[in-house]
Amino acid sequence: MRRLLRLLREVPLPHRLLGLTSLSFLRLRNVCVDFPIYQGSSRSLKRALLATSTHGNLARDALDRINVRALSDVSIDILNGDRIGLIGLNGAGKTTLLKVLAGVYEPSQGRIVSSGSISSLLDTNVGLNSDATGRENIILRGMYMGIHPQEMRTRVDEVAAFTELGHYIDMPVRTYSAGMMIRLAFSISTCVPPDILIMDEWLTAGDAQFLDKAQRRVEEFVRGSSILVLASHSTQLVEQWCNRVILLHQGRVVTMGPVKEVVAAYRRLIDGAIPEAAAQIAAAG
């Protein structure tokens, strides 16, 4: 039965067979993101002014600004119905890419074009006031998602029910555990099905029962031609939730394609990365 369902899922949707244009999409072309790392004196206006007015060529040293290229030359097309998994080692650029997709970071080079409403779950406590109750926070966070408090008020009970937090929903959020915060954040962010849902890996911290429930909800709206982008370390989660996977390494897209192939490539990368690191240490020593 399960296999049959999966088979059905993999059959291309009719509008794609017909080559109709997508309803929602995210398209990235040669996207680069450079992070200026400001530390110490580069944060100082006085230093910056002195550096430029006295010795022009000393400016760089005096400013001690370091640029880190977090993403380089990323070109991806994410179309509706896609459930994209982003995998890669720590510091591979997963979160940066999510933030670019969410529109938080503007690429230093390249272009991103998107269509459709975006809901991003990058952090569990965005827009949450720790002294306010769960119920109040549903309205508060809804506001940051662009939902008017009046409309959100009609959804509070529904969201509260989905969290299964019981009487905790009327307690201040500061009393919540990490898992409870995840329940609350996920329930709010998906209460109005977004066209594009962007999630960072913190979701994996939720308990298995809630994860199942969350997966069912996500599958439901992805079937309604939406997009999911999920970053995770857990290949198991990616295998369960996603139909395409992007492997990032050092800010570049290594491969992108069906789950099994890319996950296998990721495993090879992990196996390769560890001896590589060992060799580096040996060379440095």
Binding site: K99, A102, V104, E106, V113, D123, N125, M143
Partner: protein, 283 residues
């Protein structure tokens, strides 16, 4: 230059991306989108005011009480110090101080326009201008709470009020709010990049307070009054204080405010257009 085309993974067709909007275009979109989300920043600002005084009996009127006590205390002492009649001095001082608190509040808080909402900027895409509108509106709300002192003072120390002149408060407040928006965007960006700016601005505002005719009448400078009249802080206070106290507005004040609005908006817009894509990296 890379070709901005790529094969569509599903259909095999080449998809070309539309032209990118210009920086100025993006900045203008940001400012307009911010205005269109007015329900969001008004609600957030109201909440800011409420939360600041959560759990206290008087609520936001704590602020009013603090201001009233300050005006009372300073009024009695300084009227003796300056050998002026309390009847003349106290209305001038209270109106001046209330508007000073409004203007200085926007300038000092303006340094934190973006730093204080760092968590939001890093997680959700919202127009950056929205944070500036929220800040200005929040200060307008605080001003409204403090404003209740003014009728009381004017009742206790009656002044010849020319009712028709009160209409001048409207353009005055509108201009100052517009100035507040560009100041908070500009200072907010500079402060996000250079973290030593907020303390510098705070000390400058402190010094300017003593140089601005708030606690003392501008006439006290005698022939040197023009020197204080060119101070933009004075211009802002003057256009609001003049109509309330039935005094003539200083001759430069409106001109200074208009110039501040026009040039400030232009300069600030240029800066915002150039750097607004960096804000998320700075905070």
């Amino acid at each position: 230059m890379h070709a901005e085309t790529i094969a569509d993974a599903e259909t095999g067709r080449i998809v070309e991306l539309p032209e990118a909007p210009t920086r100025a275009g993006l900045a203008a979109i940001d400012l307009i989108e911010g205005v269109r989300k007015s329900w969001l920043w008004t609600t957030l600002a109201e909440q800011d005011v409420k939360l600041r005084y959560r759990g206290s009996i008087l609520g936001p009127f704590w602020q009013t009480l603090t201001t009233a006590v300050m005006i009372g205390g300073m009024g009695f002492i300084y009227s003796k110090l300056f050998h002026t009649d309390l009847h003349d001095y106290l209305p001038m001082l209270s109106v001046g101080l209330i508007f000073w608190a409004f203007i200085a509040g926007m300038v000092t808080e303006g340094c934190g326009t973006f730093i204080s909402v760092q968590g939001i900027i890093q997680q959700v895409k919202l127009p950056f201008s929205l944070h500036a509108y929220r800040l200005v509106y929040r200060n307008l709300l605080t001003l409204a709470h403090n404003f209740v002192i003014i009728p009381i003072v004017l009742f206790l120390f009656p002044h010849p009020i020319v009712w028709t002149r009160l209409i001048e408060l409207v353009p005055g407040l509108v201009l100052i709010s517009i100035i507040g928006v560009w100041v908070s965007i500009l200072l907010g960006m500079i402060s996000a990049r250079f973290r030593d700016v907020p303390p510098i601005v705070a000390s400058i505002v402190q010094v300017v307070f003593f140089m601005t005719p708030v606690m003392w009448p501008v006439q006290a400078l005698g022939p040197n009054a023009w020197w204080a009249q060119l101070n933009p802080f004075f211009a802002a206070i003057d256009v609001l204080r003049g109509p309330l106290l039935g005094q003539p507005t200083s001759r430069y004040s409106w001109a200074i405010l208009l110039i501040m609005t026009a040039f400030g908006c232009a300069a600030s817009f240029a800066f915002f257009a150039r750097f607004h894509s960096r804000i998320a990296f700075w905070v």
